[in-house]
C-alpha cells in the first residue's frame, strides 16, 4: 500500500509496524521530543518552529498552523486544544489510519500543541462511529498517564496536561470547528457566527486551537528534525507531505502519503494503478463530496496537488480526498448522491442551506427518476446558485459545488432525453 518504502512522515507505521505499540514507539525514539520540549523549550519556540515549517492545516482550509497558534488570545485563560477527529467527509479516511496505526505520534503531536499554546487540557473530538478508536485512545492516554508523560508536574516542571476523548453523535456538521465546539459543550451541533474565531473565543468561550488529526501528527517530526528538514518535502508554499485518500473508480484505492505538489496523474495512474478494465477517467472530485468536479483531461492530470495549483482547475485541494469518476458514471446519479448527503447533513441553522439542500434533493430525485424536464436542470442550477454566498458556514456552499460544476462542465450528462422514463434502471450498475 505504501508509496515509497521508508519515506513516510505520517504513515510511518507502514515502514515500521511496531510504532503502533507504546514500546515500539519508545524504541523508535518516541516522546523524547516531548520531554525535550517540556524541559528545555519555551512554548514560543515550539510555535516558531511550526510557523517556520510552513505547515498548513490538513482539515481542508489549509490555514498556516503556526499562524493560527500565534493568534491565540494571551489575555484570556485558560486555553484549550481541541483535535478535530470528526473525519466525516465522504471519501476521507486518513485520520482514521493515523489514529489506528500510528496513534502515539498523533498523541505526541497533540501534547506538543497543547504545550505550545499553554493549554493544560486537550480534547480529541471523534465522530461517533469511531467509538472503538476512542476506546483504544482512552487506553493509550491512560498508559501515557501511567508513564508520567501526562499529568501533573511533567518531568519535574510545573507544566501539566490532560487529554480526553469525546464522541460525537453522528452529525457531519460537527466537523465544522465551531459546531464541533458547540457539540463538545453538550449543545446542539450548529456552527457559530465567525468572527470571533476559536483562537479568541472557542471552547466555553475561551481561546482554543482546533486542529485536524493529520495536521498535529506532523508536529513531532517538525520539532524533532526542524522546520528546514520539513520544508524539503512538498512545494515552497505547500511544504510537507499529505495523505491523499484515493477512492472511486481506481485500481488501488487507499491512503497515499506523498509530497504536496505530486500531480493528479501520478497519484491516480501511477500510485493508484489507473482505472480498472481499461475504462477512461472522466472526472475527479478533489475534496470528497465538498468538491467541484474536475474535468479529468491531460491538463488536470498534470496539475500538482497543492494549495496553490488546484484552484486553477476550479477546485480546491481541501482534505485531499480524491474520488475518481470514470466514463461509465452518469453524473445525474452522482449529483443526487452528493445533494442527498448534504440535505441529510445540513444542520438547518441558516435558511439557504436548510431549504436549499432540501429543494435541490427534490429536484435531483426527479431528474434521477426520469420525471424531470430540461428546465428542472436549469432550476437545480439556479437553486444552487441562489445558495452560493449566502450560507452561514461552508457546508451550504459546499453543497452547491458538485451541482453547479457538473451541470456546467458535463452538460451532456444533464441532457434530458425525451421519453426517457427511468434513468434509475440504466444506473443499476452504479449501485453494484
Amino acid at each position: 500500500m505504501s508509496t515509497v518504502k521508508g519515506s513516510h512522515i505520517l504513515l510511518r507505521h507502514r515502514d515500521n509496524p511496531a510504532l503502533s505499540t507504546f514500546e515500539g514507539y519508545i524504541k523508535d525514539g518516541g516522546f523524547k521530543t516531548w520531554k525535550q520540549v517540556v524541559t528545555r523549550m519555551t512554548p514560543e519556540a515550539v510555535v516558531n518552529e511550526v510557523f517556520d515549517s510552513g505547515l498548513r492545516g490538513r482539515g481542508g482550509a489549509g490555514f498556516p498552523t503556526g499562524l493560527k497558534w500565534r493568534f491565540i488570545d494571551k489575555n484570556n485563560w485558560p486555553h484549550y486544544v481541541v483535535v478535530n477527529a470528526d473525519e466525516s467527509e465522504p471519501g476521507t479516511f486518513k485520520d482514521r489510519e493515523i489514529m489506528e496505526s500510528n496513534p502515539w505520534q498523533f498523541l505526541e503531536g497533540v501534547m506538543l500543541t497543547a504545550y505550545a499554546v499553554n493549554a493544560n487540557v486537550a480534547y480529541i473530538y471523534l465522530r461517533g462511529e469511531f467509538w472503538m478508536l476512542a476506546a483504544e485512545l482512552d487506553k493509550q492516554i491512560a498508559r501515557l498517564r501511567k508513564e508520567k508523560l501526562l499529568g501533573m508536574k511533567l518531568f519535574g516542571t510545573d507544566y501539566e496536561l490532560e487529554l480526553h476523548t469525546h464522541l460525537g453523535a453522528g452529525a457531519y456538521i460537527c466537523g465544522e470547528e465551531t459546531a464541533l465546539l458547540e457539540s463538545l459543550e453538550g449543545k446542539l451541533g450548529q456552527p457559530r457566527l465567525r468572527p470571533p474565531f476559536p483562537p479568541s473565543f472557542g471552547l466555553y468561550g475561551k481561546p482554543t486551537i482546533v486542529n485536524n488529526v493529520e495536521t498535529l501528527a506532523n508536529v513531532p517530526l517538525i520539532i524533532e528534525k526542524g522546520a528546514k528538514w520539513y520544508r524539503k518535502f512538498g512545494t515552497e508554499k505547500s511544504p510537507g507531505t499529505k495523505i491523499f485518500s484515493l477512492s472511486g473508480r481506481v485500481a488501488k484505492p487507499g491512503n497515499y502519503e506523498l509530497p504536496l505538489g505530486t500531480t493528479y496523474g501520478d497519484l491516480i495512474m501511477t500510485h493508484g494503478g489507473g482505472i480498472p478494465e481499461g475504462r477512461k477517467i472522466k472526472a475527479i472530485m478533489s475534496a470528497g463530496a465538498s468538491s467541484t468536479l474536475i474535468v479529468a483531461d491531460d491538463k488536470a492530470l498534470a496539475t500538482p496537488m497543492d494549495y496553490e495549483s488546484v484552484p486553477a482547475l476550479g477546485a480546491q485541494l481541501g482534505s485531499a480526498s480524491i474520488i475518481v469518476i470514470d466514463e461509465t458514471v452518469d453524473l445525474k446519479w452522482l449529483v443526487d448522491k452528493t445533494v442527498h448527503f448534504f440535505n441529510h447533513e445540513s444542520c438547518g441553522k441558516c435558511t439557504p442551506c436548510r431549504e436549499g439542500t432540501y429543494w435541490m434533493n427534490n429536484i435531483t430525485q426527479r431528474i434521477l427518476h426520469g420525471e424531470a424536464e430540461q428546465k428542472d436542470v436549469d432550476l437545480l442550477k439556479d437553486v444552487a446558485m441562489n445558495m452560493k454566498g449566502k450560507c452561514l458556514c461552508a457546508l451550504g456552499e459546499f453543497a452547491t459545488e458538485a451541482v453547479v460544476s457538473s451541470i456546467e462542465r458535463f452538460p451532456k450528462d444533464f441532457k434530458i432525453k425525451a421519453g426517457a422514463k427511468t434513468i434509475a434502471g440504466e444506473l443499476k450498475v452504479m449501485h453494484d
Partner: protein, 844 residues
C-alpha cells in the same frame, strides 16, 4: 441587546453611509440598527434588537464596503475626485452581525442585494404552508409583509412536494406551535435563554427536520411564554387565549395598564365587536405597549392572560343590589344610593372605607375625601407598610432601571421578585448583566439569586435586622443592638454586601412582603430607608426605595392618604358603616369575614359578586378597568394613565363617580363626571402630584429600539406607545430623619411557624376568572422544609390538613430544600388564613 443601546457604554460616534445617506451612530452599533435609526429598512427575521444577533435567517444580506487603506502609509486611498476608494467584499454580509466602522458604505438597493432578499424569501417559502388566510398572524406578519415587499410573484417549488408537519403542537397549555409555519429563526428560544432565563424550549434534530421542542414538565414552563408569540416573525407560535379568535385588522387598540402588580406595565387592549357577545365590544387580547422605562416590550403571562376578570360575563355585576328579607335583590341606582347615603349619614364618624389597591388614583382620592369629610377612616386593603417612606426616599423623576450598570447596586430583600413583580425581576437581572451588583436577601432560594453577587439568608422575621446589619456602620459589640443584628453584622457576606452597597454609585432597594405582615413590613421599610439615607442614596435619580407592593396601585393609595389598618378585623367589626371598594376581606380571611358580619351597615362596590359582597347590605357595581379612564402610580412612582377600551354596562361608572354620587347626597362635593377632573384636583392638592396634567401623562418620546410600527418584522407585534409614557413623581425633597427603630425579635411559636409568601399565579379574584391560566394555577398548598417533611413522613404532593388562625384547609404539601427547619410557606390568596407570620399545625 447590542452594546450600542446599553447605557453606560462609550459613545464614540462612527460615521458611515447607508444607501448614500450619511449617519453617525455609537461605536458597536450593528448595521441593521444604524439603518433603522435613519428610517432605512434592512429586512430581518432572526434578528431582534433585544436579542444577541445570530445571523441565521440570512434575510439582512447587504453589500458592505470599507475604505481601502494603503498598507504603507496607513491612509485611506482616494480616487481622482478625491473620494475614498471603497472595497466591497466578494460576498454579501449579514447586516445584523456586522458592526459599523468609520467610512463604511452599506448598500441595500443594488440588484445583487434585492435578489438576495428575493432568494432567501423563496427558500423560506418552499417549506412554508402559505396558510395566511387562516393564520392568526396574517395581517401583522413579518413574513407576509416582507414577501409582499421583496418576494417573487411566482412559485418554483412544486406544491405537492411541500413538507407536511404537525400544525397544532401544544408547547404548553398557553402556547401552540405550528411546525409548518416555523422558519427556525430561534427568536423564541433565544428569548427564553437570554431574556427570560428559562431555557425550557430549544431546537431538536437538524436540517429540514429542525424543530422547536420543550424540555420542561409541564411544557413551556415559563411565566414569560406569551412574549415569544409577539416576537415570532410568523404564525408559528400563538396563544391559546387569542388563537383563531380574531383577525388583526378587525382589532381596535386602546392604551391601558396592567393592574396586577406594582410595575405598571403599559399594555394595549385589542378589542372587537362580536356577534357571539351580542354585538358587544370584547377584549380579545392584551398586548405589551412599549415603554422602555417600565416594561420595555414585554409582559408576563399573568398580565397577558389574566384579564378575563374584567370581561362582561355572567359573573359581572350590572346594577345595584339591596338586601331585602335577607336576600340581595336588584334595586335602582336612586334607591340604592339613597339608602347608602342615609346609612352613612347615620354612621357619622363610624364610617370605615376600605379601598382595594387596584383602584385608580381618582377612585382612591374620592374615597379618602369622603371618609375624611365624614370624619371616618380611610383604609387601604394592604398588608404592607412604607408608602410614606417611598414618597420621601423613593425613586424620583428621571429614574430608569435600565440605567443601573457597572458600579451600581440593587438590593432585593424579603421578596421573590419574579413572582411578585416579574418585570422588575427582568430589569434587575439585566442590571446584573450590565455589571450592577445585585444583592438578594431572602430566607429561601429565589430565581433572582442566579444573577446575584451576594445571596444573604436570614431567619424569617429578621428582615429588618438584616438590612440594619447591612448599614455597615455598626459595631457588633453594640449592646443595644438586638442579638439578631449583632450576629448578622459578624457575617462575612453581610459585611461584604454592606460594603458593596456603601460604595455603589447608585442604589435601589426593593423590599417585598415575603414572610411579613404589616408590623414586620413597617420595620423593614424603615430599615431600608435608613440604609438609603445612611449611605447617601437618596434624592437623586436611580436611587431610592421601591416597595414591591401587594397591589398595583398601593402607592397611589398611600399618596391619596389611605393607610393599611393595623387591625383590620377590629376596624371593620367596629364600623357603624363599612364602605368596601374593590376589596374582598371576607374572601381573604375567615376572621375578616366575621368582622364584616359584625359591621353595622356594609356597602360593597366591585365588578363581581365577591365573598364580601355576599355579606353586604348594598352592592354597587362599577366599571372594570377596561371600561374606564384613570391613573395608577407604579412602585417606581410613575403616574400612568389607562383609557377605556370597551363601553361599560349601561349606567355603570368608574368607582370615583359612584363615590362622588354618594358624597353628593351627604353634602360633600366631589367630581363625578370625568376622571381627569378628579386628576386635576389631585394635581392641585396632593403635593407630590403638583402641576401634573393629563397632557403630561400623554407625552411620548422617541424610544429605542423602534418597535410596533408598520415594520412588525423588526421588533414584533408589541405596540408603539403613542398614548403616553407617564410621569415619574419627584420625591418630597424633605430629607427624612434617620429614625432608628429597634428591629423586634420575631414572634416565636411552639410549633411550626407559617410565613406568608406571594405567588404570581394565585387563586385570587382577579386571576381565577381567566380559564386560560387554570392549567397553571396550583391548588392550595404549603411548602415544608426537608427536615420537617421527613419528621412528619410527608411526601411531596401529599394532601395534608393545615390549620392557621383556627381555620383548617386541605392543602398539598410541597417541599422546598432551601427552607429552614420549623418554617412553613403559606401562599397568600389560596384560601389560607394568613396575614403575617403565625403558628400552623400540619396533620396528615
Amino acid at each position: 441587546m447590542t452594546d450600542a443601546v446599553k447605557p453606560n457604554v462609550e459613545t464614540t460616534l462612527v460615521n458611515l453611509t447607508i444607501d448614500n445617506v450619511p449617519v453617525s451612530v455609537p461605536k458597536g452599533t450593528l448595521v441593521v440598527d444604524a439603518a433603522k435609526r435613519i428610517g432605512i429598512d434592512i429586512p430581518v427575521f432572526c434578528y431582534h434588537p433585544k436579542l444577541e444577533p445570530v445571523g441565521m435567517c440570512r434575510m439582512c444580506l447587504v453589500d458592505i464596503g470599507l475604505p481601502a487603506v494603503n498598507r504603507e502609509t496607513g491612509k485611506v486611498e482616494t480616487d481622482k475626485q478625491g473620494r475614498p476608494v471603497i472595497n466591497f467584499g466578494r460576498a454579501l454580509q449579514t447586516g445584523c452581525t456586522v458592526e459599523v466602522a468609520e467610512g463604511m458604505v452599506v448598500v441595500g438597493y443594488t440588484e445583487k442585494v434585492q435578489k438576495a432578499r428575493q432568494d432567501v424569501l423563496e427558500f423560506l417559502l418552499t417549506s412554508h404552508p402559505l396558510d395566511c388566510p387562516i393564520c392568526d398572524k396574517g395581517g401583522e406578519c413579518p413574513l407576509q409583509n416582507l414577501t409582499m415587499a421583496h418576494g417573487r410573484s411566482d412559485s418554483r417549488f412544486i406544491f405537492d412536494e411541500k413538507i407536511k408537519l404537525a400544525k397544532h403542537v401544544p408547547l404548553g397549555e398557553m402556547i401552540f406551535l405550528d411546525r409548518e409555519r416555523c422558519i427556525q429563526c430561534a427568536r423564541c428560544t433565544r428569548f427564553q435563554d437570554e431574556i427570560a432565563d428559562d431555557p425550557v424550549i430549544g431546537f431538536e434534530a437538524r436540517g429540514r427536520s429542525l424543530q422547536i421542542v420543550t424540555y420542561s414538565e409541564p411544557g413551556f414552563d415559563s411565566i414569560w411564554s406569551g412574549n415569544t408569540t409577539d416576537i415570532c416573525p410568523v404564525g408559528a407560535l400563538t396563544t391559546t387565549d387569542f388563537r383563531f379568535g380574531a383577525r388583526p385588522w378587525e382589532l381596535q387598540a386602546s392604551a391601558s395598564l396592567c393592574t396586577h402588580c406594582p410595575v405598571g406595565c403599559n399594555t394595549t387592549l385589542n378589542t372587537r365587536r362580536e356577534a357571539k357577545a351580542g354585538g358587544e365590544m370584547v377584549v380579545k387580547r392584551v398586548m405589551p405597549r412599549q415603554n422602555e422605562e417600565v416594561n420595555e416590550i414585554w409582559l408576563c403571562d399573568k398580565g397577558r392572560f389574566a384579564h378575563h376578570y374584567a370581561a362582561k360575563d355572567d359573573g359581572r355585576l350590572t346594577g345595584p343590589l339591596v338586601r331585602r328579607d335577607g336576600k340581595l335583590v336588584a334595586a335602582t341606582w336612586e334607591k340604592a344610593l339613597a339608602l347608602v347615603a342615609e346609612k352613612f349619614e347615620g354612621a357619622g364618624k363610624g364610617l370605615v372605607t376600605l379601598a382595594g389597591g387596584k383602584l385608580t388614583n381618582e377612585d382612591l382620592y374620592n374615597l379618602a375625601g369622603l371618609a375624611k369629610a365624614r370624619g371616618g377612616k380611610a383604609l387601604l386593603d394592604s398588608r404592607m407598610a412604607g408608602g410614606d417612606l417611598t414618597a420621601q426616599v423613593g425613586l424620583s423623576t428621571g429614574s430608569n432601571l435600565a440605567d443601573l450598570g457597572k458600579g451600581d447596586a440593587a438590593l432585593v430583600v424579603a421578596c421573590d421578585l419574579e413572582e411578585e413583580a416579574p418585570l422588575w425581576w427582568l430589569r434587575v437581572k439585566q442590571a446584573a448583566e450590565r455589571g450592577a451588583t445585585v444583592i438578594v436577601a431572602n430566607p429561601r432560594r429565589t430565581k433572582l439569586e442566579r444573577h446575584a453577587a451576594f445571596t444573604l439568608r436570614y431567619e424569617y422575621g429578621h428582615e429588618a435586622a438584616l438590612v440594619t446589619a447591612l448599614v455597615g456602620s455598626f459595631s457588633p459589640k453594640r449592646a443595644d443592638l438586638p442579638a439578631a443584628v449583632q450576629a448578622l453584622i459578624r457575617d462575612k457576606d453581610v459585611k461584604d454586601a454592606g460594603q458593596a452597597i456603601a460604595g455603589a454609585k447608585d442604589l435601589i432597594v426593593f423590599y417585598g412582603s415575603e414572610g411579613t405582615g404589616l408590623a414586620e413590613s413597617a420595620a423593614l421599610a424603615r430599615a431600608c430607608a435608613n440604609l438609603l439615607i445612611g449611605t447617601g442614596h437618596i434624592g437623586r435619580p436611580n436611587n431610592g426605595l421601591v416597595a414591591v407592593w401587594d397591589k398595583a396601585n398601593a402607592q397611589g393609595g398611600w399618596d391619596m392618604g389611605l393607610r393599611p389598618s393595623a387591625d383590620l378585623a377590629a376596624d371593620l367589626g367596629a364600623a357603624k358603616a363599612a364602605y368596601i371598594v374593590a376589596a374582598d376581606p371576607a374572601g381573604d380571611s375567615p376572621a375578616l369575614a366575621e368582622a364584616v358580619k359584625a359591621a353595622g351597615f356594609v356597602v360593597v362596590q366591585d365588578i363581581r359578586l365577591s365573598a364580601t359582597a355576599e355579606l353586604a347590605d348594598v352592592v354597587l357595581p362599577a366599571a372594570a378597568f377596561t371600561e374606564r379612564d384613570g391613573t395608577f402610580t407604579s412602585g417606581e412612582r410613575r403616574v400612568q394613565r389607562l383609557h377605556p377600551a370597551v363601553p361599560a354596562y349601561a349606567g355603570l361608572r368608574g368607582d370615583f363617580a359612584v363615590t362622588a354620587q354618594i358624597a353628593a347626597r351627604l353634602g360633600v362635593a366631589q367630581e363625578k363626571r370625568l376622571a381627569t377632573g378628579v386628576f386635576n384636583q389631585i394635581a392641585a392638592s396632593v403635593p407630590a402630584y403638583a402641576g401634573l396634567t393629563s397632557a403630561a401623562l400623554s407625552e411620548v418620546r422617541e424610544q429605542w429600539p423602534v418597535i410596533g410600527r408598520g415594520d412588525v418584522y423588526y421588533g414584533g407585534t408589541t405596540y408603539d406607545n403613542k398614548q403616553g409614557l407617564g410621569v415619574q413623581l419627584p420625591v418630597s425633597g424633605d430629607s427624612p430623619a434617620l429614625t432608628f427603630e429597634q428591629p423586634a425579635e420575631p414572634a416565636k411559636f411552639k410549633g411550626l411557624k407559617a410565613v406568608p409568601v406571594t405567588r404570581l399565579y394565585d387563586r385570587g379574584t382577579t386571576v381565577t376568572p381567566s380559564a386560560v391560566l387554570h392549567p397553571r394555577l396550583p391548588g392550595a398548598f404549603i411548602a415544608l422544609s426537608v427536615e420537617d417533611a421527613d419528621k412528619m413522613k410527608i411526601e411531596p404532593g401529599q394532601k395534608v390538613q393545615a390549620t392557621l388562625n383556627g381555620v383548617t384547609v386541605e392543602v398539598e404539601a410541597h417541599i422546598d430544600n432551601s427552607l429552614a427547619q420549623g418554617v412553613v410557606l403559606a401562599p397568600r390568596s389560596f384560601g389560607l388564613a394568613i396575614e403575617g407570620p403565625c403558628e400552623i399545625t400540619v396533620k396528615k
